[in-house]
Amino acid sequence: MAALLRGLRAGRAIRGLGSVVAAPTATTPQCRSLRRSFHCAALRLQDESKSDKPPSSSSTTYHEHYQAHTTEQYTTAASQGDSASDPAAEEASRPNTSYQDQSGEQGEEYETEEQLQARILTAALEFVPQHGWSMEAIAAGAETLGLSSASTGMFYNGAGDLVLHFIAQCNSQLTEILAEQHKQVQLGQAEPKKTADFLRDAVETRLRMYIPYIETWPQAMSILLLPHNIPDSLKHLSTLVDDIWYYAGDRSTDVSGSYHPRSPSSTAHTFLSPSHHHPHDIRPATIQMNWYTKRAALTGIYNTTELVMVQDSSPDFQDTWNFLDNRIQDVVNMASTAKQVQSTGEAVVQGLMGAAVTLKNLTGVNQRR
């Protein structure tokens, strides 16, 4: 520990970080501040590409001075923000240094602006039931982190930023859950689910994340429909649907007629999987749109179920889950019906061809004289 500190101090001296830091009061804040300043220098080098602000040496030293002044002020705020920052920290890429784990707190000015914004928005989510999806909720969130309400000026899109952040957070949570389940199946600890069940569970898990905010969710949906938010909300939706299909075992990457390798985990595909039912590797034109069809179908299911959920008043949203079951069943039926129609059609065509040949034989047209 002492050697670490000496190394840090030497590192700082070598970097020539300029003017003397105002003498910090106790040794422990000094250790923390040293660690943080080293960490900050490392972070700054890494984040230079991200933030377009060139960190001048004068501002670095000012920050160290400032930070030594106000360590006590930040301990309470930072420890409050710590739990909230963990999901945000996982999203953002941070250098995997051990200093991160050793210091119990994080200096707010040493993270990038995006990370701080993510933390503010996460803190703002708990005020949404009270204030709705609005700037007031963001202001209340900023205040719990110890920042002034004027910092809401950073969010040019206002409530839209809050809603999009929440959706991104839900999507990443869902991805984690699905990855965890996938791992379980790989390890053989769980049975692979049928595709229909898998989709149903994934959509239900995802929609359940809205339950704490279900009162204000119509407001959030209307915010997402504003023209300047539509590109972002569509992007989030398509990422969500793509992720669900990926974990359901669909690995198709193109829409050409080539054979798609199947994923090892899911062997029980029953619908919308062409290679199963075409032993001769004939791929009719309808299968070429498979990738789009799957995603379009799931998007439709997801959106309609969300709408049903918003006005559902049954206990534990039972009506919504029944609706979801029915929709997925519809898609399954439709897919198998489509296949049946296709094979029937082919059979009919073959029958007609055979009848035509027989007729030609009977009338003697086919004979060669």
């Binding site: 602000k53 060139p54 001048s56 004068s58 501002s59 000012y62 920050h63 400032y66 106000t70 002020q73 707010e108 000015e109 602006e113 701080l116 700037m135 007031e136 202001a139 900023a142 982190l145 110890g146 920042l147 002034s148 309400s149 004027a150 910092s151 809401t152 000026g153 950073m154």
Partner: protein
């Protein structure tokens, strides 16, 4: 009636001739006379700064700026309307919209002598609070028994936080005019008037949510010191906003703007306020102020984050905003 008019016209022509002479000669002429009269002083005080197109020792600039604003204080608002054709009201309204203050915010308006920004701030926050109250009553029109009992139990907690605005100016005359305006408009609650220097504010650290300086920072001798002070008195998360004249980007508009500034504005100053030289100083000081990008770098150097600027009226006025994070 005719005689004083003739006198005035002759004075105007004489002053405009002097104006052309000065702007042609630039800084060298005037600074020459200054150095001629007191060489020793200039040698010992070797840090000079600009006062319009003149070069003056730094110690003197503050005094001269003080005199300028002392002279113009009474007619300041009238002159603003005349010079900007009333557009300055739009600029200040836009400043408030970008600021979007939340109820309970504390504002420090530096160099805000006659109080324009502070009045708008209080109005904005009042209307925000009213809107919130209306929304609350609308949503509570069918309260459940739970809500009613909650309301009774929380009645003694203090109501929505009071927003406060502090107007700080180095010039007592400007503050006097501001106070008179406030009295006549009937705004009294939540407003304080403080005499102070932007380079050395008489406030503790971490006091204010928002710091504004509207059309004042170009009069400050050491701009970086003013920025440091702004950083000091702002709370963490606080916002720095600076409304200031800046460089016009469009060349056609720039020509028109220059012509208007140097020909019309001092004349208006003479006719309306009886003070040519102050308004000459005003337009010259606009030209000496750094442009948008440079000022943005200065703000970043002082330690603010998320710095950006908005151009109004094609760059005639720029609003710079930064956060203390």
């Amino acid at each position: 009636m005719a005689a004083p008019m003739r006198l005035l016209v002759r004075r105007v022509i004489r002053l405009s001739h002097r104006n052309i002479h000065v702007s042609a000669a630039g800084a060298s002429g005037r600074s020459g006379c200054c150095w001629g009269t007191s060489p020793c002083r200039c040698f010992s005080d070797d840090r000079n700064t600009h006062f319009g197109f003149e070069t003056v020792p730094e110690a003197e600039k503050a005094k001269r700026v003080y005199k300028v604003f002392e002279n113009v204080a009474q007619k300041y608002d009238v002159m603003n309307d005349a010079m900007s054709l009333g557009i300055h009201r739009l600029w200040k309204d836009t400043l408030l919209h970008v600021m979007h203050p939340q109820p309970g915010a504390r504002l420090l308006d530096v160099g805000g002598g006659t109080g324009d920004i502070a009045f708008r701030f209080l109005e904005y926050v009042c209307s925000q609070q009213e809107r919130q109250k209306r929304r609350a009553t609308r949503s509570m029109q069918t309260p459940s028994w739970q809500d009613i009992s909650n309301n009774y139990s929380t009645e003694d907690e203090d109501g929505p936080r009071e927003s406060r605005a502090v107007v700080c100016d180095i010039n007592k005359e400007m503050l006097k005019v501001g106070k008179q305006k406030a009295d006549s408009m009937g705004i009294g609650a939540g407003l304080s008037w403080v005499v102070g220097d932007a380079e050395e504010l008489p406030f503790d650290d971490d006091q204010f949510d928002i710091y504004t300086i509207a059309f004042g920072i170009r009069n400050v001798t050491h701009i970086d010191q003013a920025l440091q002070e702004a950083l000091r008195v702002l709370k963490p998360g606080g916002r720095f906003m600076c409304l200031e004249f800046s460089k016009v980007t469009n060349p056609v508009l720039a020509r028109l703007y220059d012509a208007y500034s140097f020909q019309m504005i001092p004349v208006l100053g003479e006719v309306i306020a009886g003070d040519w030289k102050s308004y000459q100083y005003l337009v010259e000081s606009i030209r000496k102020f750094p442009d948008q990008e440079e000022f943005k770098h200065m703000i970043e150097d002082a330690g603010f984050y998320c710095v950006q600027y908005y151009n109004f009226t094609g760059g005639v006025v720029a609003l710079h905003s930064g956060f203390k994070l």
